[in-house]
Amino acid sequence: MSMEKVNDLVTRGKAKLVPAAVQEALDEGCEAGALLDTMIAAMDVVGENFKNGTIFVPEMLIAAKAMKKGVEVLKPHLASGASGALGKVIIGTVAGDLHDIGKNLVAMMIESAGFEVIDLGVDVPIENFLRTYEENPDTKIIACSALLTTTMPALQQTVAAINEASWRSKVKVMVGGAPITQEFADTIGADAYTPDAASAAKKAKELAA
């Protein structure tokens, strides 16, 4: 019952209620890892609902916030690194582009799926993507977005620079953003393109498996 309650509260984005529900579940003897899994499952449902158009950005944001609050309570009870067990993802909007909400939604969904996210923000120069990977060589995925036709060349250049790096075979590259298509992703040599945040989280899990 407690697990179901946590799942339901995360799905409905009840950030104020989730910490107490998680604590209650822990007090009743629920495993911290199982509670984390139920929250990840809740976010999977949120992502699917967003993808299907039955919920919208606010519902996704409050669900992610609720999960974050739950994870804060869980953290002391989890094995070190368990909340980011699927590995590291570096994410950013490419140089010259200031769009952040799409990238933030992808970051949230990927984090909620069990990755550790290194968010470089917006207007990220190529060298920042490269340097961050070199500082975090255990990174599984680099995700880059461009939201304008004018910044598609910057995305192309970013992916080209990653493709030329000596460590390229050890990492997967995902791309996205309003003007980006599968065809463009193929042309520039990215490993994956997804059209929305929920698909991005799903694809990230496939790529990291």
Binding site: I55, F56, V57, P58, G96, I101, L148, T149, P179, D196
Partner: protein, 329 residues
Amino acid sequence: MLTKRQNFLETIRGGKPDRYVNQYEYLNIVMGTPFLAKYPVVAYGQENVVGAWGVTWTWPEGFPGGFPVHTPDKIVIKDIENWRDYIQEPDLNYTEEDWAPYVAMAEKIDRKEEYVTAILAPGIFEMCHHLLEIQNCLMAFYEYPDEMHELIDFLADWELRYAEQICKYLKPDAVFHHDDWGSQISTFISPEMFREFIKPAYEKIYGYFKSHGVEIIVHHSDSYAATLVPDMIDMGIDVWQGVMNTNNIPELIEKYGGKITFMGGIDSASVDRPDWTPKLVAAEVQKTCKNCGNKYFIPNLSQGLAVSTFPGVYEAVSAEIDKMSKEMF
């Protein structure tokens, strides 16, 4: 040959237009008011310009428009529960003399040929996220609904006072109002939330304009917003400008034609790009015109003004629309 204005009316009424309304040709926008002149507006290439309402703007080179800057220090409303403590209401005390240059601009327009058009941007929804930062704003609809209602009422009241002066001095025939309500695949908020928070403000604003001499309301949202069309009609919107192809425009025309007209269908992202060619533009315009027909539809780039990011694209689209007029009429 019908005038631009007659041809527009035939198009939106399902009558006998003799050609396509070519993009923005029917709107002659008066690009200025004393309010717009008083407060700094970010220009291409500028950074950190503080405009009306205290919002900081940056317009990087290569971008189609400016961006509100939302680093923590630059968010205007830092705490929605105390929004009144943060808001800086722009001045609306302007004299007849202040309005005179803009009245002169309006007077030069031939109203028989084109609509004298007032432009208002940003809209109510955009103002909310410019002031609060978009994620804070979207979550506040859930977490602080009372405060969001108060803020929206405040913004709408301010705009109504501005509208009063616009109607008194410019006497516009049309209003072109920006407010982006979605991404290319979805609305930002649910239709239910939109009806609760945003729609009432526009019913007041557009209702005011319509009862004070404005004949045509053109609303810009270059996004998906198909699910909001019935609400647009209720609000008094005559033309939805910026309609993207993700909306299934032919289906919308079939369903709502006669109550609202759809202006767009040539997604800027598909042609206004660094690698554009006249051939690409021609293919998109032909496809769009053939799909959407010639009533209740105005072919147009989804961009919110008669411009393109890459030189020549807007003009190339216009030229192709002229060609399609010969084929489709």
